[in-house]
Symmetry: D2
Subunit: 152 residues, 4 copies
């Protein structure tokens, strides 16, 4: 319920802009990732398990974990940006806390501090098995708002 | 020439172990990445451009850039680990310095400080266009040597 | 009240060990920092404003902000370590979110994921002015538990 | 010799601006740190050993190590900024590679990628004992150029 309310607060145009941008990301489609929540300052992305996203021991590859975390944080920041701008990741840091295994992993990007130029997000990735979530990665990310260059 | 010499210093068994481990990484294969150098404390990975690895503006996705950087650093550390151990990424931090575009990107992982338990690597990713290399990402990574659990 | 309860859960011996360790830190004394909370997996450190901790514009220096954040995280991890061990910072990352000014700054280190060898903490620093707290820095830290070498 | 040449390339006004800014940093003076090199895109800071900069085991405190690393990187970036601007640290990440002990520690900040808005630096800290340097910390830092607000 809380999520629904929060989600409602995001303008339909913003939602559409983010979904369209996500759909243009070849990597997200190639991995099989899906946008599952767009709230003001918070975005979730889900990635089902499959051999194509693993490392050598069959767990989710840190690269896949990071890719959806980075993308979730980027769009979380983007929900708060003015129209006609785009978002770029400046940098991020991520700790891989535990082997990521389960039916899927879910990344959550949350704006920690919005800014006109720079925005800082918290990144979390959970492994989900039989609807139980376990934190498997946590990080922090800096993004920049690029003016005069719409994301399209 | 220097590379060749350096490469020769890596034991054939170590090279085989790393190549076999890399080949088991579903994500690397799915992205189209390739191991291009295995030296003592240094590993390079190359990723050709294709729509499947892009973000919304057609550049290499930060997730793809990070994935090969993380993998290069992991195996760079692994070249220095004793037999019967495996390697896990503890954490990494990466700055995306410039849009990554070109024929391919190349990640280079270099051991900055080896250790019995923890190893620290420097990560660099270059975009290559007509054989000119441009630094597009730089980072730093911490890895742990896991004993009693061979990478297989 | 919650803090008091939480604080009570930390063994008196652990509290004494941490306070004694903190008191041996020449830097903390030299800066004028003070331990203000020791709970299980959470430690707070306070640093009053004075010219000796500033950068060139009169704000708290990022170095002072980071120093108390790093120390708070280190002892937060240490509250969960077994006897006879010591703690070392492996690495940390910190974002300076806003100029730090006020009567004092307060760092809070919180264990995000405890581990036998490695522990990961969240770091937050607040500037306090007339009892209003503002988040001025946020970070993430990796610590290692060193066995067979008591902190003394 | 190389250093001297490089140093000469920095405009006298820039050198004076950086030295004056450094001298206003209460923390650097309080710790006993000293600017030892100002080159284009590279700055070194030295900190002699004394009880006031230690952690609980008598080594240099990670907070002291980080403080001079952060400052060296900040001024390294500042050497490349236009007049009338100031520099702020956005974030940094640092690995503490080995216990820092010796007669002094020396931080070196080097611009890895200059930019109009954001600049990225590499940070290194060496412990010096009988003129032998040992790398004890390494990191990476993002800085922002603030226009219309001179550093004074």
């Amino acid at each position: 319920m809380k999520d629904q309310t929060e989600q409602d607060q995001v303008d339909a145009a913003v939602r559409a802009r983010i979904q369209a941008s996500f759909d243009r990301q070849g990597l997200m489609r190639h991995l099989g990732a899906r946008l599952t929540h767009i709230g003001p300052g918070r975005v979730n992305i889900s990635l089902p398990t499959r051999p194509e996203v693993t490392q050598q021991n069959g767990y989710f590859h840190a690269g896949a974990t990071s890719a959806i975390a980075d993308t979730a944080g980027g769009y979380a920041a983007f929900t708060l940006f003015p129209e006609g701008t785009s978002v770029l990741t400046v940098e991020y840091k991520i700790n891989l806390l535990a082997p990521a295994e389960g039916e899927r992993i879910e990344a959550e990007g949350t704006v920690l501090r919005p800014g006109r130029t720079l925005t800082v997000c918290r990144l979390e990735v959970f492994a989900v098995r039989e609807e139980r979530r376990k934190l498997v990665a946590a990080g922090q990310q800096t993004l920049i708002c690029v003016e005069g260059r719409p994301d399209q």
